[in-house]
């Protein structure tokens, strides 16, 4: 057995590279090349040039708007994702299977369609939207709430699907023990159920945050795009591209890339070190 293993390991040298080369080439071409191009373009005028572009009032506002709407969405999504996962795993009720299937819908629906749908439902002329904006003065479409709503839609599956498998594997007996010892449901939840879920919640949230920061299709329809009011970073880049502010486009793009990368790396690190299944 050992001899044939050694033989196959020897042959592995060449075939290893046969496999390795196309894959590495693929990754290089697909990711590294465009990345290098944009970095090179963004640093055309040096770091100060890039910084100048990012700190232009309209650009920095767009970036901040993107960050806080994504962050707000992430928080809401984490909470609702947790509740949804809990409800789906722990309870049985009519329509549960349908609910479970609906969760994955946002993953398949094109983001542009998402934007269209939200405007159809919450636009001021529609029943719901008109009601909200006239009676309560709460505007959804073409205002930050619309942005948060669109982001919530597309990110919904991430936290839920991250939590579900972990929750399913949890041993109910611990919870039952806690209850027997006199703990309230809330304490039980906080001290027994929540801790093992912290990491999937965290990594799912980081994932949805990084996804949200770059979102374009849903937001561009729903957001209103007023510079310094409702224009997100992604839409700003589009405007910069279309108005020949190439340095601005590259600069903000690089910033978005850096943010996304950092968040993704954090999420990956969490998963790697604590072995959470996705």
């Amino acid at each position: 057995m050992e001899r044939s293993l050694a033989q196959s390991e020897q042959k592995a040298g060449l075939s290893q590279w046969l496999l390795r080369l196309p894959a590495i080439l693929y990754l290089c071409i697909m990711i590294l090349v465009p990345l290098i191009v944009i970095i090179q373009d963004g640093f055309r005028e040096g770091l100060s040039g890039l910084w100048h572009q990012i700190t232009l009032p309209i650009a920095s506002h767009a970036i901040l708007l993107t960050l806080w709407t994504s962050a707000l969405m992430t928080i809401i999504n984490a909470v609702m994702g947790l509740v949804t996962a809990y409800v789906l795993v722990r309870y049985d009720f009519p329509g549960k299977r349908i609910l479970n299937a609906i969760i994955d819908l946002p993953l398949s629906i094109p983001t542009l369609v998402t934007g269209v749908m939200l405007v159809m439902l919450y636009g001021p002329q529609e029943a719901l939207g008109g009601f909200l904006s006239e009676r309560i003065g709460f505007q959804i479409i073409f205002a930050p709430p619309g942005i948060v709503l669109a982001l919530l839609f597309i990110s919904f599956p991430f936290v839920v699907r991250n939590i579900q498998p972990v929750l399913e594997d949890l041993d109910l007996s611990q919870e039952e023990a806690a209850v027997t010892l006199g703990a309230t449901p809330w304490t039980t939840f906080r001290k027994v159920v929540l801790p093992p879920l912290t990491l999937p919640i965290l990594s799912g949230s980081l994932l949805s945050f990084s996804r949200a920061v770059g979102e374009f299709g849903a937001v561009v329809i729903v957001a209103g795009n007023i510079p310094l009011k409702t224009q997100t970073a992604a839409v700003y880049v589009l405007g910069a591209v279309e108005s020949e502010n190439r340095l601005g486009a590259s600069a903000v793009s690089i910033l978005l890339i850096v943010i996304s990368l950092l968040v993704l790396m954090a999420a990956n690190a969490i998963e790697k070190h604590w072995g959470v299944h996705r």
Partner: protein
């Protein structure tokens, strides 16, 4: 095994891909293809003009012409052409966008020579208001009503938006806005700020702006007269208000030399541009809400297109070159105004 099969398929697909792109430009003598890059507003007009031209060209030369059309914001379209979109003919909203293509070296003839200086249609900046004009908008000063929600497209991407800003600022400078002294750049700039602070949405292009208005957003849209008329033709009930002083929007059309020579279709492309000046085509423009350059057609449509009390053009500002720096440049009047308005909130 499957992997080999997969590799095989890839090897087969690659030439397919290459042929996809290369094949499109093959022109035979019986069939040619023209690419039109236009701004959003005249979409419907070209929808009717093109079939007429196709008929005309077929009967004249026996050659069949197919069209590929792209409609984007004027600035966006202009940039696309510069970046590699091989439009044979461009029909844009303003001269500056055509100049950009010329400066990129793609237009080499003097497109402004000629009877109409390269302009094919005109329109004016005006307002679209809700049915019955509930906010009582009659002129520029009414735009500063507190709490009014105004839509206008973003000058960064939309030619239409630039016209709007110019009309606003120009009317103020000319002393045609009640309460704003003429010839006073500071006062005019303040007026601009006041109006800008009432902005609620800034879209990518003129068409997007009016569509949002139709969706129920805002109380008024500053837009082309043309957009309002076309919208009304589809049954919308908003009303058109023409201010006492406004700017004449002149829309250019021209052949893109680099592309027509590359595609070898200069003759038919130039014929198309000439066709746009014919009575037939100009009448179609007129039916789709555009004022025309052809004086005969213009004379028959004065009812639909009333004269404006004080009509000025880009010459009032010294031409597009000055406008791009003085008004839309980094230190320009508009740029400063928008920063002032939004930054202060």
């Amino acid at each position: 095994m499957k992997k080999i099969l997969n590799y095989l398929v890839i090897i087969l697909i690659a030439p397919l891909l290459a042929s996809c792109s290369a094949g499109v430009e093959t022109q035979t003598n019986d069939e040619v293809s023209l690419i039109l890059g236009a701004y959003t507003t005249p979409r419907e007009a070209y929808g009717e003009i093109i079939p007429l031209f196709q008929e005309y060209w077929l009967s004249e030369t026996g050659q069949k012409v197919t069209f590929e059309e792209s409609y984007l914001g004027s600035g966006a379209q202009s940039r696309a052409v510069v970046e590699g979109f091989e439009a044979d003919i461009v029909a844009l909203s303003l001269e500056a966008d055509v100049n950009r293509i010329q400066e990129a070296g793609l237009i080499t003839h003097d497109w402004k020579a000629g009877e109409y200086k390269g302009m094919i249609t005109t329109s004016i900046v005006s307002f679209a208001v809700r049915e019955g004009n509930p906010k009582n908008i009659h002129d520029w000063m009414d735009l500063t009503q507190p709490g009014l929600e105004i839509l206008t497209p973003n000058p960064n991407t939309s030619g239409g938006a630039m016209w709007n800003v110019l009309a606003l600022y120009g009317a103020a400078l000319r002393g045609k806005v009640d309460g704003v002294p003429g010839d006073d750049p500071q006062a005019a700039s303040d007026f601009l700020c006041e109006v800008l602070s009432n902005l609620s949405v800034m879209d990518k292009a003129a068409r997007d702006s009016i569509l949002n208005f139709e969706m129920g957003i805002g109380d008024l849209a500053i837009t082309y007269e043309n957009e309002v008329l076309v919208g009304r033709q589809t049954g919308k009930t908003y009303e058109l208000v023409i201010p006492t002083s406004t700017i004449l929007i002149e829309n250019p059309v021209t052949v893109v030399d680099a592309n027509v020579d590359k595609h070898g279709i200069r003759e038919v492309a130039e014929a198309f541009v000439n066709f746009l000046y014919t009575q037939q085509a100009q009448e179609i423009y007129a039916q789709h809400g555009l004022r025309v350059v052809n004086p005969d057609v213009a004379a028959t449509t004065t009812e639909l297109y009333p004269a404006v009390e004080d009509l000025f053009t880009v010459e009032f500002f010294g031409g597009w070159e000055n406008i791009m720096v003085d008004i839309f440049g980094e230190e320009g009047v508009y740029t400063q105004a928008i920063l002032q308005v939004q930054g202060g909130e």
